[in-house]
Amino acid sequence: MLTGMSIPPDQVRGSAIHVQGLEKSYKELQVLRGVDFDVARGGIFALLGSNGAGKSTVVKILSTLLKADAGTARVNGFDVATQPAEVRESISLTGQFAAVDEILSGRENLVLVARLRHLKEPGKIADDLLRRFSLAEAGARRVATYSGGMRRRLDIAMSLIGDPPVIFLDEPTTGLDPEARIEVWQAVRELAGQGTTVLLTTQYLDEAEQLADRIAILHEGRIIVNGTLTELRQLLPPAKVEYVEKQPTLEDVFLALVGDNGKNGHDRNVGADA
């Protein structure tokens, strides 16, 4: 099995995220029962699992919001238990729900995060990101008036401030419509293209397939498989050749009907000019 592969120590030191033997229980409920995985620098790593599999628990431990009961976790070379401040310097968390301030405008949200990261010229950083995420026109409006996709884009834009080397995206497309999903996917691909390490959790198999270099499946508190998509495919018997009439999926139809008119086309160009 792929999980059994040992990783040479020098590679461990070089990995952006290193997790070994992670355990966590909430009272009697044992959520993580010894989770191990490594994420290489600059890659997109998808942690796949059904609801309640413990994906968010892993992300919370890695982002220093929760303490593990046992095991070690290192992010960007820093131990989450003993060097939490250094870990927080190295990461950004985009949680399960778009964590944006509804009463502030989009621009004010970005300025707020830039100030909290103690960066110079927060206004300029905000304006650049608004442009990059096609939010320039909406920038002065209160976030309460944004659509779900716009909120998620703003949320991800807030996570990019300060260029942290590691970004956690916890179910970034849950609750989004198909167009907004594609916008988010484009933003994530672009991030990885710039050398940022992305740890993504998702319950959508196609999302992992679309985005990730490596995929790990978290099931009943353990990683039961970890590899590239090709490696995972090889776990099953080789593909048979069958002739099937190719019907468009409902998603194809939906996107063909609503996706390509002028207004939405503009909206979908997430990060295209960055």
Binding site: L65, S92, G95, E102
Partner: protein, 253 residues
């Protein structure tokens, strides 16, 4: 202490002050109940209440100010609860900031919001004929006690803000606090109450605080009441702070 504590607190304070200035209804709602009570008691019930004071509005205002604070801190709980629920609290906690500044920003915002509400209520009382001979020092002492009381109640408000599961749960605790002044010397002198009620009224924090403020406004010697009042405020503040800190540590571990 983290070297960014003051800077981060200032940034986050600016954020939640914007919440207040953009939803002025919270200030108005905070002030409206105490103002309604002031009108009701001064113009309807007041005539039938014998307080030994020439002007009932003068007698009533200190208690009304405490009710203002008790209803104002419910919004502190609400703002904190919404931050927890929206995930922005976790976002802040996962950032390289002085973590405690997130709570302190809420506490200072509560102070600012309550000061505004208190000023509004005092202005209405002035229109209704409230007059005080108090000098600058006495006014400063009144302000100091009210600020201390606000801080004490604010740290109580932080606890449900961090731990509540629903909005209703987050605000339910404030009703007893608003009710407490009725069982004190705030509306009627305690001497008129039957034994056990009187014993409770005379030994609960509101009475000593109300009496102290009333004496400061009327230029009477404050006696030992001021020390009892300060002891209650500081005591509540310390205990509430400890429990708020425990709840906070539970949320981030």
């Amino acid at each position: 202490m983290n070297k960014h504590f003051f800077g981060d607190t200032a940034v986050l304070l600016g954020r939640s002050l914007r919440h207040i200035t953009r939803s002025l209804d919270t200030i108005i709602t905070t002030a409206i109940t105490p103002i309604a009570m002031l009108l009701l008691f001064v113009y309807v019930f007041g005539g039938a209440i014998n307080t030994g004071s020439d002007s009932y509005v003068n007698y009533l205002l200190p208690g009304i100010l405490l009710i203002t604070i008790a209803s104002g801190i419910a919004y502190t709980t609400l703002r904190l609860f919404l931050d927890m629920k929206s995930g922005i609290f976790e976002r802040f906690q996962s950032m390289p900031i002085a973590r405690s500044s997130v709570l302190w920003a809420h506490v200072l915002t509560s102070l600012a919001a309550n000061v505004i509400s208190l000023v509004v209520v005092v202005l209405v009382a002035l229109l209704m004929g409230f007059r005080s001979e108090a000098g600058v020092l006495a006014w400063l002492a009144v302000a100091g006690i009210l600020i201390l009381f606000t801080l004490a109640l604010t740290w109580i408000a932080v606890i449900p803000g961090l731990t509540a599961k629903s909005v209703d749960g987050a605000s339910a605790y404030s009703y007893p606090l608003i009710f407490l002044p009725f069982l004190s010397s705030a509306f009627v002198p305690t001497a008129t109450m039957p034994g056990p009620v009187r014993a409770f009224a005379e030994n609960q924090p509101v009475t000593s605080i109300v009496n102290t403020i009333r004496d400061l406004f009327t230029r009477q010697p404050v006696g030992t009441d001021i020390w009892i009042a300060l002891a209650w405020c500081v005591g509540i503040l310390v205990v509430a702070y400890i429990f708020a800190d425990i709840s906070y540590r539970r949320r981030i571990s």
